[in-house]
Symmetry: C2
Subunit: 427 residues, 2 copies
Amino acid sequence: MDIKTKAGQARGASGKLASTSAEERNAALRSIAQALESEGASIDAANKADLEAARETGLAAPLLKRLKFDVAKRVDCIAGIASLISLPDPVGVVQKRTELSPGLELTREACPIGVVGIIFESRPDALVQISTLCLKSGNGCLLKGGSEARNTNRRLYEVISGAAASAGMPDGWMQLLETREDVGAMLALDEYIDLLIPRGSNAFVRHIMDNTHIAVMGHADGICHVYIDAAAEVGMALDVVEDSKCQYPAVCNAAEKVLVHEGIAHEFLPRMKARLEGRGVELRGCALTRAIIDCKVAEEADWDAEYLDAILAVKVVNGFDEAVEHINRHGSGHTDAIVTADTAAAEKFMDLVDSADVFWNCSTRFADGFRFGLGAEVGISTSKLHARGPVGLEGLMSYKWKLRGSGQTVAPFSDGRMEFTHVDKGV
Amino acid sequence: MDIKTKAGQARGASGKLASTSAEERNAALRSIAQALESEGASIDAANKADLEAARETGLAAPLLKRLKFDVAKRVDCIAGIASLISLPDPVGVVQKRTELSPGLELTREACPIGVVGIIFESRPDALVQISTLCLKSGNGCLLKGGSEARNTNRRLYEVISGAAASAGMPDGWMQLLETREDVGAMLALDEYIDLLIPRGSNAFVRHIMDNTHIAVMGHADGICHVYIDAAAEVGMALDVVEDSKCQYPAVCNAAEKVLVHEGIAHEFLPRMKARLEGRGVELRGCALTRAIIDCKVAEEADWDAEYLDAILAVKVVNGFDEAVEHINRHGSGHTDAIVTADTAAAEKFMDLVDSADVFWNCSTRFADGFRFGLGAEVGISTSKLHARGPVGLEGLMSYKWKLRGSGQTVAPFSDGRMEFTHVDKGV
């Protein structure tokens, strides 16, 4: 079946999915959880085939670990589905209710976006999480996983779509894409696809964003800053920088840059150097930094680099304004933090820094849907439209306006015989 | 000044604008209203020059009427600014508040999108409305009006930006573009511009959507349907169809198609023909329609056409499913209505029709920001992301996540020494 046919099927099914009840979708989620349990052996076999093939091509150990879909990961996925079932139904939530005129009531109600195309890394648990998130939110989906996981993904697709179908979900709501060509073709299918969520390397996400007219949710770079203000408490600043940089350097919300106010640089930098070098971090400093501590040179390109590694670029700034300007120029709009005891400076920083997440006196690593309490996470968006920052189920929802009347026409409102009441009826 | 410089200035100013207080922005709006009053003579003179030039080029009378910016329109604009001042401040509204852990509080707060590029028709009052909406919502803007209004627009720009500057608004938040080339260049400035709002013909809006990576808010076609269900009350159906088609045929929320259930077609169609032909509407029918009433033939292309005129295409459908499928295939996702006494059918229609506005027993002409009670209107969006349907000030807002801590790091939450509390603190 070609991608256009698949996309058309998902589009057709998405309409029906949008009108299923929360009970029906939750029953399908339970059926999927049971099938992942009962079909465990065939899923294991498929994953073994993928792992063997990957070992033969010499896939690196960390990637093999991500590719592995063993009993423990399967149990986690099943627990994830249970927690998804327990979340309130996002479909049909009334967001506004207004009487326009007696007997003419307007509501704004959450509805699924429609069809979502998601391209994700070689981690089979991602397929389970994403497809069940889409089902919970009533969205059709086109899924393209990493090619190393092709056998596992195909088996998971069969198990999940079969279980959903047996629980009465419309055929075709979930489609599996298997080739790189399919991804290219998907970018042109704006007639069928409402939203793309690409997960993966910066270059890949940027490629998707630059080559489609479909809305894209996600982030390319994660160039996060910590700004140490003159009024920072040094011990706290050291803790925040260390956690932001070292707690998990390979992820998008890890800090890549530290900006230090010149008024505190002499006190802070030597202690930061001691602390971070103890954690194996390579420092790259501007000229003012290197006048205070010995470290490598930060080149101009360092300010725009996402290392995803134990490297930190350090710049001494002459004040608050330079820090904010630097972040807005070189940052990626993801997550940026200030450490300061000065409340006014902190609030001004959070207003002026144009990023999805703006933090005060805490680690950039908190930028995460689970930590934010959003439950299941779709991804992190650096767009300023629709969803921004960590995105939960809400990011998979649109809304529509429903107006329920009893024969009302506009003419009498237009010629002054009637007037709108516009009474807020609450939600 | 070239467009890139202008866009850069707007971007720079937008950061400052975002941190102004509601009082400061309202004071600037008051200053603008006063300037429109005191500078009336020079605005009139500029508009006279535009009107004279337009008459010489033989501009049609309705367009001349739109181009005219006389005392009455100026007074309306000033009243519009007064009502904008009275609206609650959209900036900084707290949308969520969660305690992640004692002393670590997360809020999601509304903030301006940043810089908005708006291209609008030759109606000088649009420049006043749009620029003041942007100011109220804290957004920088690039404005390109119709070239016929160039003298009026330039004078209005000088008066408004001057008044805003004298009230302390950051220089450059508002920029005027004057050439068609500027519009083309603007489409590539995704580094500076966060959102485009094109208003105008279908072809123009589609051209913008197809030629930029900047998010676009708006609608191309408005192909609105009224579906007359078997269980419709015929008198009501006639009223709704007449108003939807005839109350103002030249606008996007006027009905272009009527679908009629075969079970009611024999009763409904002759009466509809009498009613609409009495209003000068040309009917174009499918074969089944023409077996019942005498009218022109509806060709296949009619189902996808937006007439914006006193023409209505009519199709007899064999039931609810065919009606919904036809609307989702041929509609534009703008506004579609059902007339029926069957509540279950109405609710199913509103769930299954994938449009911004889905109406039951009322005219499609209600699809409008003012009628919806949203106050000032930015436009109508058929996108399913961000804002959908009539868009008020809310559509010009993004949000950011602010996390206020006291030195918290992720490590203790990661290794199990601490647990998130995730207490909803209300808003």
